[in-house]
Amino acid sequence: MPQEPKLAPTLGELLQERGVSRRAFLKYASYLSAVMALPAGSATALAEGLANARRQSVIWLSFQECTGCTESLTRSFSPTLESLIFDLISLDYHHTLQAASGEAAEKAREAAMAENKGKYVVVVDGAVPTKDGGLYSTIAGVSNLDMLKATAKDALAVIAVGTCAAFGGIPKARPNPTGAAAIDEIITDKPIINIPGCPPIPEAMAGVVSYLVSFGKLPELDHLRRPKAFFGETIHDRCYRRPFYERGLFAEGFDDAGARQGWCLYKVGCKGPVTYNACATLKWNGGVSFPIQSGHGCLGCSEPDFWDQGGFYRPLSTNLREMGPALAGAALAGAALGAGAAWASRRHQESYQRDQSAAEGDKK
């Protein structure tokens, strides 16, 4: 009798093996569904889905990046979340976290791709240089551009983690010498989820992977492909300094009386009003704080081109381009045009008056 192929254990089985109680697991599922604002009753469905899910094969590609995104996820202050991510997924390839290196690592990636064709998820952090055939960043002699295309070809979905992968981020900042591009500018035929942030909030990553694994579909995304559960509201919408904004009480610097009293940071460049992210609600380091609470305005790091918005300390309502010389030139040109028009008009009047006097003289 032929032997049944042995299926990988489900996540529920894995957690049971590690002594995680069903109660703790349900609690975690409720937390996640609350964080993702899922409809009532979804916590059980999420828990069921997660418990029955087999480990999801994940290939994690790191391109033009600083490893901050991986650091943010792995050093998250929430050990349950962190371990859940890694329990949920079978991380078949990750530069920073895998033991293998060089040829062996590349072989592991290729093997995972062949074994899980059409079922694996590609996670990317970092932008992709596209200029000059993508030669500005290569791994084992393969350009990031080629590696991304080849790896994404048979993927189930692609998750772009961090602003560099989602929108090009810092590598794409002007003058963008390497022609850095976001993942969705290159991969256009696969479902893509963007989880931007510099770095992104760990809960967003855990939430999206859990959702993907348990419900087998993408969570609801906004027009920039960000999960609405985490990127549905602006920082300003949920900022605890908002009452000061409404009352017109602003810190003028980082060490003045206003700053010490916790007033709004709009005048010192806060980009919270146009930044969609969950920092103000989920916060960082296990809910300890977030930039605005620590006294610095929001940089807008989960928005496209946040590096090129005229400066982190430039208030949002100011113009982006230098105008002084252009306006001085316009004023001079305008004054010259006006003087010219007045002069022409004076000449016209004088000649009219001369004609009138001449006509009167003729009559006489």
């Binding site: 146009v274 081109d305 113009n319 045009l337 007045a342």
Partner: protein, 219 residues
């Protein structure tokens, strides 16, 4: 480039250049014309040109007795509109920051909530002004395209500013971009239509005062 980047960047830059160029052009073009258009000698006992000019400016700030009943709405509504606009434009913190970015000048702001309230009153006054204009056959007759366009381009920044403040109708960054673009449209039209009265009204009233004074006419 996002819509907001476009609005804060090239759109605002071009609009400001057109505004400054057009306004200085019209301003100097008018001011450098001959001031004494009437060659006749002033009447005996005519006030000095300075006094007449001053009177011309001040007297027109309130309707003459015979016209008080008919003109009261226009005056009161006009004051509400203009003071409202001045408060919204010059006393809202983000606006002051914009001006500071351009000129380096700044002054204290009013609480945002108060400015929003003034914005609503200003908008109501703009709408009331239009209704009054449309209901009066005489005003309708003398209204031109310029009047309606100037009205619309004044209303739009107030309306979009209020929508942005209330986060109503679209995402905030879109509303903010549309608000800035509506200001760009306002700035571009400003020097070429009746909006230019903001700079010229003092001079035109003064000139009327001088001319009338020269002829001995009571203003």
């Amino acid at each position: 480039m996002t819509l907001l980047e476009f609005a804060r960047g090239p759109a605002l830059q071009v609009a400001m250049i057109i505004f400054v160029l057009g306004a200085t052009w019209r301003f100097f073009g008018a001011l450098l014309l001959p001031w004494r258009l009437v060659p006749a000698e002033p009447r005996k006992g005519a006030p000095s040109p300075i006094a007449a000019a001053f009177k011309g400016v001040v007297v027109k700030m309130w309707p003459h007795k015979p016209f008080q009943k008919a003109g009261m709405f226009t005056f009161v509504n006009g004051y509400i509109l203009h003071f409202g606009l001045a408060i919204v434009v010059f006393l809202f913190a983000p606006h002051i920051l914009f001006i500071k970015g351009l000129t380096g000048l700044s002054w204290p702001a009013l609480p945002s909530n108060l400015v929003y309230t003034v914005g609503v009153i200003t908008m109501a006054s703009l709408v009331a002004g239009l209704v009054h204009r449309l209901r009066s056959p005489v005003l309708r007759l003398i209204s031109r395209f310029d009047d309606y366009l100037s009205w619309l381009l004044t209303l739009l920044p107030v309306l979009t500013g209020l929508l942005a403040a209330a986060h109503l109708g679209a995402r905030y960054e879109t509303l903010l971009a549309v608000h800035i673009l509506s200001i760009c449209a306002f700035l571009i039209w400003f020097p070429f239509g009746k909006l230019m009265h903001a700079f010229m009204f003092v001079f035109s009233r003064a000139m009327t005062g001088v001319r009338m004074g020269q002829r001995g006419a009571e203003l």
